[in-house]
């Protein structure tokens, strides 16, 4: 935990304690960032967000809100939100807590392939889960 909290500013995190805005759709949650960080207009930002979701193979969840999503869908949205920050490092903090309905190491690996992003992805997990990643 301490290691995660001490991460510098240029790290995008996907974590349980960084939830989505509950009253916004997945698309709005993602598009928020280009609007405020990149000062794009709304249409442009929505377009970028939708593109990213399509790339991750989850374009269908664009209009769902947080409570209506499955854990996997929620994870994908959070991941997209982290990716659109375009930071050099991406840390996935204890994916097991978020992805309890899928075999998550392979799921993440598949997403990583689809994302085709530069930069490193790091997964912080409990040591007893290490065996899962060997498979």
């Amino acid at each position: 935990m301490a290691a995660v909290d001490a991460l510098p500013d240029d790290v995008a995190r996907v974590a349980l304690d960084l939830p989505l805005r509950a009253n916004l759709s997945a698309l709005d949650n993602i598009a928020l960032i280009p609007i405020y960080r990149g000062h794009f207009n709304v249409a442009e930002s929505n377009c970028q967000a939708l593109q990213l979701l399509e790339q991750l193979g989850h374009a269908g969840i664009a209009l769902l809100r947080d409570p209506d999503m499955t854990p996997a869908q929620r994870f994908v949205t959070k991941l997209a939100r982290a990716l659109i920050l375009k930071r050099p490092r991406l840390v996935i903090d204890r994916p097991g807590a978020m992805l309890y309905d899928v075999p998550y190491p392979s799921f993440i690996r598949q997403l990583a392939v689809q994302a085709e992003m530069t930069g490193t992805w790091e997964i912080f997990d409990f040591s007893w889960n290490q065996a899962l990643y060997q498979a």
């Binding site: 304690d17 960084l18 939830p19 989505l20 928020l32 609007i35 405020y36 960080r37």
Partner: protein, 264 residues
Amino acid sequence: MNFLAASIESLGAKVVGWFTVGYGMFAFLAKAGLLLLEPATWNRATFDVVVKQIYFTAVQILHVFLGYALVISWLIITIILSTARDFGLTEFASEMTIRVLVLELLPFLTALFVALRSGSAINTEVALMQVNNELDALAHCKVPPMQFEFLPRLIGGVVSVVTLAGLAGLLALLMGYLAIYGMNVAGFEPYTRTIAKIFDFRIMAGLIAKCALFGLAVTLIPVTAGLETPKKLFMVPVSVLRGMMRVFFAIVAIEVVSLALKYI
């Protein structure tokens, strides 16, 4: 002796608490005001949230609100008119009606209406956002919550209360005319004279300022109360309770001060 010391201490704690709350509120307001001056604030996303806020605060309840204003106005006008007739003070009736309804009662009721409906909702939402770490998530993404979440609510609240109070006031003016002169244009001249006599520049500016302050009170106080919530889910009702009590005190205080400025 011990008892005395204890009560003085508790009094001191209360005073300090009130000062902290007041300071937090005004610091928040100052921050929001400064952000208003920044061009970066005026982007499409903020505007969208403002629009949404106005929709939920004003447009969605417009028909209910206007119906309610209609009934209240009609009742009060009828009461004032019949009382004035009984006491032989008919010439003061129209002025009295306008003063009571348009300047005092309707803005006050509008503020209460918006406070009960939107103020409590805002308080709950902000408290839940705080408890759920949503604000931390926004901070992590470097999305400023002030511009994205709070400022639009303040703007929406001010715009909504000013507009709703204005619409209700216009409706009351119309009702007053109909109640006093009936369905004809004969009373237009004297009614215009009465209106001209009441609404000088000072009164108009005071009315708009009062409504704006009401709008600010019913949104700013719930937002700050929500932000004060400790990160425990069971504290959300307590936060709403505190926030709504402060809103009530603030509304009454604004009304009392405005009356004092006008008539003392």
